[in-house]
């Protein structure tokens, strides 16, 4: 097998993996702090994708520009969702939270189906089908751009949690819930803020995804499942872990498709998940609880 082919496929896999990582980042942030598993994660991403499609269709706004206001809108949706709906469930058994968020997911998917119909949609910008020739490598331009944005957003998020007072307060809530209450932090507000930030990440990822894939109202569960696999591999609650998990899954799928049967490539992602669960249950960069 030519080495150029292997290198090309590996690079595509890494770039795709970084976008996967961004997709999973929101899920990881929310779980890391609020300790709620967002079963409506994929559907929230689908809302963002449709918002980007509408923005492009109606006003010709590039999804890379539209992702800023879309992230803001998703932040607001996430904030309100946490404040109004999830907070009352915080101290209830986990299965109640799962059912609540699964119900939210079903409502979102069916609402999108009623508004947009079952046809798949995407955004075809001028550069959507361009490639960059770098030596023997032929790299998809859109993947390079989206992977770059994924790294930028992850770095920004990391800086926010590390260097800002609000970020440190959110981390305090995650590390010691009781301690955070004792020192007077408004934990419920910080939870809502975290859910908003996680949702904003989902919004940015959803808007960018329209450049890479076609979206249908029913695509949400696929995103949710993939995000779960990634964050479990990388470590639930770990931001670098989400990116690492994404890259690992993207790369393994690409190489499995090349060396084995392409139709079975997602099987390899699940195999990695099983191995991680067996030998490092907290995930590659997760902390032991």
């Amino acid at each position: 097998m030519p080495i150029e082919l292997i290198a090309n496929v590996a690079v595509q896999g890494i770039l795709t993996g970084l976008v996967y990582g961004l997709m999973a980042l929101g899920l990881s942030v929310i779980f890391g702090v609020v300790r709620v598993v967002n079963f409506a994660h994929g559907e929230m991403m689908t809302i963002a994708s449709y918002a980007a499609i509408v923005a492009f269709g109606a006003w010709n706004i590039d999804p890379l520009l539209a992702m800023v206001p879309i992230a803001v809108i998703l932040f607001a949706i996430g904030y309100v969702l946490q404040k109004a709906l999830i907070n009352p469930f915080i101290n209830r058994p986990e299965h109640s939270q799962f059912i609540l968020l699964a119900a939210v997911a079903i409502i979102i998917a069916n609402t999108l189906l009623m508004i947009f119909g079952p046809d798949s949609r995407n955004v075809l910008v001028d550069y959507a089908l361009d490639s960059l020739q770098i030596g023997p490598l032929l790299v998809d331009k859109v993947r390079v751009i989206t992977a770059g944005f994924a790294c930028l957003i992850a770095a920004g998020l990391f800086a926010f949690f590390k260097f800002t007072r609000t970020g440190r307060a959110i981390r305090a809530c995650a590390d010691n819930h009781l301690g955070a209450l004792v020192v007077g932090l408004d934990v419920k507000k910080l939870y809502a803020l975290t859910f908003g930030i996680g949702s904003a990440c989902v919004g940015a990822a959803g808007a960018m995804m329209t450049l890479l894939i076609d979206v249908t109202p029913n695509v949400g569960p696929v995103f949710t499942l993939q995000a779960f696999v990634i964050v479990i591999v990388g470590g639930l609650g770990s931001m670098p872990g989400a990116l690492l998990g994404g890259v690992l899954i993207g790369l393994s799928e690409a190489l499995a498709g090349l060396f084995f049967v392409p139709s079975a490539k997602s099987m390899f992602a699940v195999a990695i998940l099983i191995l991680v669960l067996l030998f490092r249950p907290q995930g590659l960069l997760g902390r032991k609880i």
Partner: protein
């Protein structure tokens, strides 16, 4: 005054009522005969096949206005039912339609759902006209009430491969190497098995250098296309659905893979409205060998005019054509049988001989198994961002344009 009913009286009364109903049932059937024909239409209007079921529905919806123009009665009733793209739902909806008085069933776009409906039709003695379903076993069961106006999978594959030779001859381009990519679902696997079995006997001029199966839920075909490109094959032979057909071509453009020919042996994807809407100029020059409407037929022209008037933004394609013909066949049988009785309708269906119709091929007739053997495939090429018949020449709308021009020169 109150009347006390003992358990014995109640049981006796119930039994008497049941006996009365059973005794008069044959009269109900007799009374139903000669009435308006009720056609139960089963299509996947929701679920993963919804887009295609809705396309079929459009073909059904124009029949009431159009059939009188061809000398057939227009006073029939359409009873719609949604199979939800699910085999079990298809079966229960078929039973419900029959219980509600449907005299004939039509549907169901999908082989699994059609097979389930065929069982119900046979049990109840209600004729069933299949609009679209290719699994050969449906008409191999010895059913007496099942009629299919659509090619079987082996017919599709054979017709598709034979037409490839005509394309090579007409274009003067005969590829020596082919890469075969197919969606890894029931349909894709059936096509793969059919093609593998038939290729040696058809003496095709090319060698299949690589077969690449991919996940039907795939959101990205970059690896698959990279692998196919690395073979250096002169022709790509894809078996796709619509979403993966779009992914495939998009990835080919990105990876600058330019085989001389891209020709499907008979699968959806390239000729669908969404393909043109999504890919624009990059949708051009793709070829599909598939059963299609005859653009030269007077019936097609009239139906096409009505369809275009009613659905301005939709495309008249094979789903519409075959669904229209299914109703046409049922109403034609009713006109000859002059009865809504299941057996009389089935007998009339067996002697169907409709010479002027929509789909390309010979007259609509049914053999002893209930299969129409006269449907041909045509070569469709995407030109000016719509599918055009380029072969056979006697019904061609445009000239075959090969090899594929470079992506950058479009």
């Amino acid at each position: 005054m109150t009347v006390k009913l003992t358990r014995r009286q109640f049981a006796a009364g119930t039994a008497a009522s049941a006996a009365l109903l059973a005794g008069t049932a044959p009269f109900n059937i007799v009374r139903a005969q000669g009435k308006k024909l009720k056609i139960g239409v089963l299509l996947p209007r929701s679920g993963f096949e919804a887009q295609l079921g809705i396309a079929c529905q459009r073909g059904i919806d124009i029949t009431q206005k159009m059939l009188p123009a061809f000398g057939l009665p227009g006073d029939f009733e359409i009873m719609n039912a949604d199979t939800e793209s699910n085999v079990d739902v298809a079966r229960s909806r078929a039973e419900k339609l029959v219980n509600e008085g449907a005299h004939v069933l039509i549907g169901a776009f999908d082989s699994g759902q059609s097979a389930a409906i065929a069982q119900v039709a046979e049990q109840k003695g209600v004729p069933y006209v299949i609009n679209i379903a290719a699994a050969p076993q449906i008409t191999e069961q010895g059913y007496k009430y099942v009629f299919r106006n659509f090619p079987t999978a082996p017919m599709l594959v054979r017709n598709g491969l034979v037409l490839m030779k005509s394309v090579f001859e007409k274009s003067g381009i005969t590829p020596k190497t082919v890469v075969f990519m197919h969606v890894n679902d029931t349909f894709g696997q059936a096509m793969q098995k059919g093609i593998s079995a038939m290729l040696p006997s058809l003496d095709m001029p090319f060698k299949v250098v690589e077969t690449i199966a991919y996940d039907p839920q795939a959101k990205d075909l970059s690896v698959e296309v990279a692998k196919a490109k690395a073979t250096g094959a002169e022709m790509l032979m894809p078996v796709t659905r619509i979403n993966d057909a779009i992914l495939l071509v998009r990835e080919m453009v990105k990876q600058r893979w330019e085989p001389k020919i891209v020709m499907s042996p008979g699968a959806p994807g390239f000729y669908e409205n969404q393909f043109y809407r999504t890919l624009g100029k990059f949708s051009n020059y793709m070829i599909t060998n598939v059963p299609w409407y005859n653009p030269r037929s007077a019936v097609t022209q009239k139906v096409l005019d009505e369809f275009t008037k009613k659905y301005k933004n939709e495309m008249f394609e094979l789903n519409v054509g075959f669904s229209f013909e299914a109703v046409m066949i049922a109403v034609d049988a009713f006109a000859r049988a002059k009865s809504t009785d299941g057996k009389a309708l089935a007998d009339a269906l067996r002697s169907t001989n409709i010479k002027e119709h929509v789909i390309a091929g010979g007259p609509i007739t049914f053999d002893a198994k209930g299969q129409n053997p006269n449907i041909i495939s045509v070569t469709l090429q995407n030109l000016d961002q719509r599918p055009k018949v380029v072969l056979p020449l006697d019904i061609a709308e445009d000239n075959l344009a090969l090899p594929l021009p470079s992506w950058s020169k479009r």
